[in-house]
């Protein structure tokens, strides 16, 4: 009898990294569905094209680095980056925007730092911020959501044309967060009345997109892909900040907590971006601090920053802080003093 002698433990959970990534991809479905419903096929086209480029970039980098291409492609991490960036980009973005973002995210933010597991920044957010700073016009041209103009959300062909042709003339409109940023001097209630895209809580369409990502996030929590600490901490911090500065809806108000929770990339950020394990803090306590910091920064940037796209910037900033947070939140090891000195 020929016996193999691996070391203990001999048992292993069935969950593996590729499986985790596939779960994350699966969990984006409700949010993507909401985006598609309200903003047309642009998001799907974004995701599809981004995925294609991402896989190509990843394979190219792995080939250059002399790694096993298929083995590492199968971990699906490039796909996750592509999908998250595809979601974050305005639906119907031109193809070169998507390409530049993905190339930066995969080649520079991820592979140049050593690939999967070694990137200090969230690749999707790094790509997004590069695009935002480089091409502010294209990056802030969000299509009008369904319901503001008659039958106006682009179908698949129109979305493809938007992406690759560039000729299609679509309606665009400022997002809720944009309006809040620009619309000084109006009471919150007035802003709401004057802008048809505001919907009920967080912007027409946006509230459903956020609820979709919230649902996906809850599914991932349930499956144990990540713990509640970072997302809950971020949402609570954001709510608290918004509540403190709401001031009853005056013209100087920063918007209601509900609006902040349900607009922009709040839920996407809370459940799909800051939960990226590679670039976040590692301990439970660290993740609480990490999430809270992200939540506060999201509000600060939305309210007083130059860009309304606060989540991306907030995430990059807390990525910077993660090693620092880790250093100060080392858990107390069994058998060591509560003072932590020995």
């Amino acid at each position: 009898m020929l016996l193999s002698t691996p070391t203990s433990p001999h048992a292993h959970t069935p969950l593996d990294t590729s499986g985790l990534m596939r779960l994350v991809i699966l969990a984006t479905l409700p949010g993507v569905a909401a985006l598609t419903w309200f903003f047309g096929w642009g998001t799907i086209v974004n995701i599809a094209f981004a995925s294609l480029i991402a896989l190509a970039c990843e394979a190219f980098a792995l080939y250059l680095r002399g790694r096993r291409v298929m083995f590492y492609l199968r971990d699906c991490s490039a796909l996750v980056t592509a999908i998250l960036l595809g979601i974050a980009l305005p639906p119907g973005s031109p193809w070169w925007i998507i390409a530049v973002g993905i190339v930066f995210a995969i080649l520079i933010a991820k592979q140049l730092y050593g690939g999967m597991g070694y990137n200090p920044f969230n690749p999707a957010m790094a790509g997004y911020v590069v695009l935002l700073i480089s091409f502010p016009l294209e990056m802030t041209r969000w299509l009008s959501p369904l319901g503001t103009f008659e039958g106006s959300v682009p179908g698949l062909m129109e979305a493809l044309q938007l992406c690759f042709g560039g000729g299609f003339d679509a309606h665009t409109m400022a997002t809720t967060l944009d309006v809040f940023k620009q619309g000084a001097g109006l009471m919150v209630a007035d802003v709401w009345q004057q802008n048809p895209q505001f919907g009920r809580w967080g912007g027409l369409g946006w509230e459903w997109v956020n609820i979709g990502f919230l649902a996906g996030g809850c599914y991932l929590l349930h499956r144990g892909v990540f713990t509640w600490h970072a997302p809950m901490s971020m949402l609570i911090a954001l709510t608290a900040m918004a509540a403190v500065f709401y001031d009853g809806g005056s013209s100087a108000s920063g918007g209601s907590p509900l609006m902040h929770l349900l607009s922009g990339a709040t839920m996407l950020g809370a459940f799909f971006i800051i939960t990226d394990p590679v670039s976040s803090a590692v301990s439970t306590r660290g993740r609480l601090i990490y999430g809270a910091l992200a939540g506060v920064l999201v509000y600060v940037i939305r309210r007083w920053g130059n860009y309304p796209d606060a989540v991306a910037f907030a995430v990059l900033i807390v990525n910077f802080a993660a090693p620092f947070i880790d250093h100060y939140t080392m858990p107390r090891t069994y058998g060591h003093n509560r003072g932590g000195s020995d």
Binding site: T5, T7, T13, V282, Y334
Partner: protein
């Protein structure tokens, strides 16, 4: 009801315990051969008491303990010693070690033995000696000799005895079956141990996935004062000694310390039965309960197995199909180790033989990149950061590893179990621990040799300095001779500058001395002593010294005799001066008196020295 605490982390691997508890404990019988490794415990290996060809009886000691932390080995049945040689033993590295091999004769004849009538009348020391001679060693973990673990020290009083019936490893049911079938023996052994320790609080901790065992134990312990049977939620690794203490008491064993620091002693459930047999029956530890399980076994079950039985014998009994099994694990799937061969004998610490099929425990998937998901940190019962340790381990940052408390890792395998990237984390930690230990050893060694080198260097320097001083003294003596000679004849040209220097220095010295003498004579003149006499004395002394230096080297006795002569003359001269001073009534009398006394003392000293030298 006692409060039960939770431990951080932990995992819930599939238990797989049900398949081996359907049958009662059966005897595994006597195999064709019994193999006894001399080291089945922590500590020094035992020393054989038998030789090849000897006949041994059941229960006979065939190897004796070597020192305090060691345990003897006994034959499990009667038979003949056929070899004392290296065999593959139960060890993770698959190493070979010296073993005593016995061929049973089938008669199973016991050696004469008897237990104590009443253990309560025996002193703890007597009981410990019985337990030690019976070869009892921890039967759940590393196999620490029980007598050592139960020997309390006066400076660390013990108040609580914890019996570990957790059995948190999947698949293993030997303790469970022991509880179900032999609860009274467990209670009896526990009482003996409690008597030895003199403790008041006794807790038997059991995971709540063994309700039958707990019920049976509770009813057996009903009439036994002080024994509490506590069940707590099932979670791996609750059965780790440190974890069990935390669960049952809420306290943590200090890092690097022992449970005795908290006044606690832990014993394995199986050990209690062994203690009972040793004390009440006088039987050494020669058999134990072992779970034989895994999907490749047709009839997974628990057996009472003679120690030394080869694994293959047990596998045959359980109807194992070798063709289905790629690895054979001694212990459980979390901390057990894979055997290289089925010929490995079971030892005191063997609680399970696991023969899984490939589908049951598939080979490890290839390792992927660490994504820092932190699932390992959530699983760690010691609250370590396994992924940080992994990074430092791959980078060989030993200081960081120690700062992150690598040595508090109990190697339970929970982190490896949950890692989605299939990283064999525990393996990295084991390797790093070994590296660090070696590193420390090397460091210590190099420190020692550095200290040795430095002290040698110092010694050499000191010797050199002494040599230098002697050389200097000789040179000065030579210079003085040269000076004397120089006044008579011109120096050689090559030595001229040197000699001139020496002479100049000597002149300067003598001038300085003259000045000092002038000052002194002035003072003496003030006191009424003639300056001339002082000056004369100085001159005489100088001349004498020069003469002495120029004179050929004298033997010590001769030198002393010279000294003696000069002291004698000084005494007589000073005596004369004293007489003179007395007659004239000068006030220098007291000074002169004291100098006479000093000179006389010196003379006595010199006389004594001469005598000494003469004697030797």
């Amino acid at each position: 009801m006692r409060k039960v605490w939770d431990i951080p982390g932990g995992v819930h691997p599939p238990e797989n315990k049900a398949q081996s508890v359907t049958r009662p404990i059966a005897s595994a019988g006597i195999p064709d051969v019994l193999i006894y490794p001399l080291s089945q415990h922590i500590g020094a290996a035992a020393v054989p008491l038998v030789e090849k060809g000897d006949l041994v009886l059941k229960g006979q000691m065939i190897a004796e303990a070597m020192g305090f932390v060691s345990a003897p080995v006994h034959a499990a049945t009667s038979g003949r010693v056929t070899a004392i040689e290296e065999r593959v033993i139960a060890h993770p590295s698959g190493m070979h070690a010296p073993c005593i091999v016995i061929e049973p004769d089938g008669e199973n004849r016991w050696i004469e033995h008897s237990g104590l009538e009443d253990y309560t009348s025996a002193t703890p020391a007597e009981l410990l000696s019985i337990i030690h001679d019976a070869g009892v060693a921890g039967m759940g973990g590393a196999g620490f000799p029980s007598a050592v673990k139960l020997s309390t020290r006066p400076d660390t009083p013990i108040h609580t005895l914890i019996i570990n019936g957790t059995e948190c490893e999947p698949y293993i049911t030997s303790d469970d079956m022991l509880m179900r079938e032999r609860a009274d023996e467990i209670v009896r052994g526990t009482e003996i141990i409690a008597h030895i320790l003199g403790v008041s609080s006794i807790i038997i901790g059991v995971e709540d996935n063994k309700p039958e065992g707990i019920a049976s134990l509770r009813s057996a312990a009903e009439h036994s004062a002080g024994i509490e049977v506590i069940s707590f939620p099932t979670k791996y690794p609750s059965g780790g000694e440190k974890q069990l203490i935390q669960i049952l008491t809420g306290q943590e064993v200090p890092s690097g310390g022992l449970p005795s620091a908290l006044g606690i002693v832990c014993q394995n459930l199986g050990t209690t039965v062994a203690v009972h047999h040793a004390v009440d029956r006088g039987e050494p530890l020669i058999s134990r309960i072992i779970t034989v399980t895994g999907d490749s076994c047709r009839e997974p079950a628990n057996y009472e197995v003679l120690l030394g039985t080869p694994a293959s014998h047990l596998l045959e009994l359980s109807g194992q199909q070798p063709e289905l099994c790629e690895r054979l694990i001694m212990g459980g799937p979390m901390m057990g180790f894979a055997l290289e061969s089925a010929e490995v004998p079971v030892v005191k610490t063997t609680n399970c033989l696991l023969a899984p099929t490939r589908a049951e425990l598939p080979p490890a998937a290839p390792q992927q990149a660490c994504i820092r998901c932190g699932i390992c940190a959530e699983a760690c019962p010691a609250s370590l950061l396994p992924q940080q340790l992994f990074w430092y381990a791959t980078a060989k940052e030993y200081e960081k590893l120690e700062a992150h408390n690598l040595f508090d890792c109990i190697e339970c395998g929970a982190c490896s179990f949950v890692c989605p990237s299939n990283i064999p984390l525990v393996q990295y930690y084991r390797a790093s621990k070994a590296d660090i230990r070696r590193h420390h050893l090397d460091h210590e060694r190099s420190e020692r040799s550095r200290a040795r080198f430095e002290s040698r260097q110092q010694r050499i320097e000191q010797e050199e300095a002494e040599k230098q001083a002697r050389r200097q003294a000789r040179r000065e003596a030579a210079q003085a001779r040269a000076k004397e000679a120089g006044t008579k004849q011109p120096s050689r040209s090559d030595a001229a500058p040197d000699a001139a220097d020496v002479i100049r220095a000597a002149i300067e010295r003598s001038q300085a001395k003259k000045q000092a003498a002038a000052a002194q004579s002035q003072a003496q003149a003030d006191m009424g002593i003639e300056p001339d006499s002082a000056q004369d004395a100085i001159d005489r002394a100088m001349a004498k010294r020069a003469a002495a230096a120029a004179a050929p080297k004298l033997s010590p006795v001769e030198q002393l005799q010279n000294n003696l002569a000069s002291v004698q003359s000084r005494i007589s001269k000073t005596g004369e001066k004293l007489e003179q001073a007395r007659t004239t009534g000068e006030d220098t009398v007291s000074i002169l008196e004291s100098s006479v006394a000093k000179l006389e003392a010196k003379r006595d000293q010199i006389l004594a020295e001469i005598e000494e030298l003469g004697d030797s």
